[in-house]
Amino acid sequence: MKEPEPIVFVIDDEAMIREGIQSLIRSIGLRVETFASAAEFMLAKPPNAPSCLILDVRMPGLSGLDLQRKLTDAHIHVPIIFLTGHGDIPMTVRAMKEGAQEFLTKPVRSQDLLDAVQKALARDRGLRKERAELTEIRARFDSLTPRENEVLKLVVAGLLNKQIADELGASELTIKTHRAHVMEKTQAESLAHLVRMAERLKNSLQK
């Protein structure tokens, strides 16, 4: 599967800065989309590609920090690089707590910005991969029958076939069959692999 082309979003109310940053990032061969305000960005369709946001903290209307909060609330986890003219400590702390990728002061050094963009895209790629894998695992686990699910839980809990048979009031042979189905449907290569997948699924649900 070929990865879709990554996109960098630039949101700054200052047209000249917007264009400058856009030009700079395009020069290293990345796709850039610009927005003059946070509200304008919110109207745009979320991309199905690795992406990151370059966001001015101080903007009229919805501020950069407000937008960050809104995205978090909407479960849109895209790495954000903040640009600020005067970054004070409380503001930086708040942004970092909400998961900002980077906090750069204007005028920003081009290398710092490009590095930050690369790091942010790499992170988003990782996140996307993780999300895709999870989706895949979830689909496999969802295909299990209720009985197979029960067997899965006990297998993962470390019980032997005989113990599971006792627990569920079935013959050991039946359990063996269910277990084989589980391994097949979840495409688990080993018991350890099955346990790892089950753990990942559990962790993702807890989040």
Binding site: I17, I21, S23, L24, G85, H86, V108
Partner: protein
């Protein structure tokens, strides 16, 4: 009782009657004694006794004296002697005597009573005046207290107001600085971003000249914007030209010292002023000059907060200099300024304090220089500093 109230003295009534009776007895004795050498009728001592009796005893005892002397005269002196009978020929004479005595008694008692009632009125009046005086005194004290209270309230209000003004001024400077910084920083950020982009397009293996050119053009735009912002700020400052009115520096110093009074006492600093009495007025902006003085005073106080080995004293002097200048010097006994720091003292944003923004001295100097004067500092480390400024005088007499 009218008679007793008419009594001239505070004597008890028994004594007053005693006096009247004694007086009549004395008159009788004298009349009898003197009858032998002088013959009849030497009984005119009786009217004297009646007059004296009335005088000292009042109306009642007076009447007793009249009665007794009438009886005595009738018995001892009107023939036939030693009898109460009167010959018809002597009746008019006797009645005249009695009438004279009665009139004397009446006149004297009337006079005494009048005098007495006058005295009573006077006493009453005096009592009332005293009462009223006390009331007035109380009211006066209350009024004085209220005036004092109001004065104190006004003082607090004044201090709060000037504190507010000071904070507002500092805040304004801070906000202005932040806003100017942002205004200038935005186009500069654009300049940097576009110049970077331009370089990046040129650095490609096959340079994209169109992109590089567009970025370079935006760089020029940004730089132009930055210089426009600066020009706008400059014209704004020029427009807000300070007013020029006659200003008495001594007044400003005194007001400012009052403003800084609280900070001074909190920092345990005694502020001493030696102001020339005949200081001519200067032409300038009152608020701005006050800002300079306040700034120098606050700096002085600040410089002494860490000093414990010597007296913390701020000495403020004003004097005429070279005939056409007025000089104010503010001398502290603070930590002083080191030789390394001295050359940077008036640089914008240079500060040795954690809370300072480093704009006080540069702003003060620019104010003084805009007024045609000079502001400079001399300092000995660990001894203190003297900040002085001169302003051209108008020659107009000061107060």
């Amino acid at each position: 009782m009218q008679t007793s109230r008419a009594a001239p003295s505070k004597l008890p009534s028994l004594s007053r009657y005693g006096i009247a009776i004694t007086l009549v007895a004395v008159a009788l004795f004298l009349s009898l004694a003197l009858r032998v050498p002088f013959g009849n009728p030497f009984w005119f001592f009786f009217p004297v006794a009646v007059i004296a009796g009335t005088w000292f005893g009042g109306r009642g005892p007076g009447w007793v004296a009249v009665g007794l002397s009438t009886v005595a005269v009738l018995y001892y002196f009107i023939p036939p002697l030693h009898s109460f009978a009167v010959k018809p020929a002597d009746v008019p004479f006797f009645l005249t005597f009695v009438a004279c005595e009665a009139v004397a008694n009446w006149l004297i008692s009337w006079q005494r009573e009048t005098e007495d009632s006058l005295r009573r009125s006077r006493d009453e009046l005096e009592a009332r005046v005293a009462e009223r005086t006390v009331e007035l005194q109380t009211a006066n004290e209350a009024l004085l207290n209220r005036i004092e209270e109001q004065r104190r309230t006004e003082e607090v209000l004044q201090r709060t107001r000037s504190e507010l003004a000071r904070v507002a001024r500092i805040t304004t400077i801070g906000e202005l600085t932040a806003s100017i910084a942002h205004e200038v920083n935005q186009p500069l950020a654009a300049v940097v971003a576009n110049a970077d982009a331009c370089v990046a397009w040129l650095a490609l293996q096959s340079p994209d000249l169109a992109e590089a050119r567009a970025a370079a053009e935006r760089t020029i735009q940004g730089a132009t914007r930055a210089s426009e912002v600066i020009a706008r700020i400059r014209s704004m400052i020029n427009k807000a030209a300070p007013e020029r009115v006659q200003v008495q520096l001594n007044e400003i110093v005194e007001e400012t010292v009052a403003l800084a009074d609280r900070q001074a006492s909190r920092a345990n600093v005694s502020v001493i002023t030696e102001l020339a009495t005949d200081l001519p007025a200067v032409l300038g902006d009152r608020i701005q000059i006050q800002q300079v003085v306040l700034n120098l005073i606050m700096n002085g106080i600040e410089a002494m907060t860490g000093v414990n080995s010597r007296v913390r004293q701020l000495l403020i002097r004003s004097q005429t200099q070279d005939g056409d200048q007025v000089r104010v010097s503010i001398e502290d006994t603070g930590i002083g300024v080191s030789a390394e720091v001295m050359p940077r003292l008036f640089e914008p944003f240079f500060t040795t304090r954690s809370q300072g923004i480093g704009m006080g001295l540069p702003i003060s100097r620019s104010i003084v220089e805009a007024h045609g004067g000079r502001l400079w500092a001399e300092s000995a480390e660990n001894k203190g500093s003297v900040f002085q400024f001169t302003l051209p005088s108008t020659g107009a007499p000061g107060k």
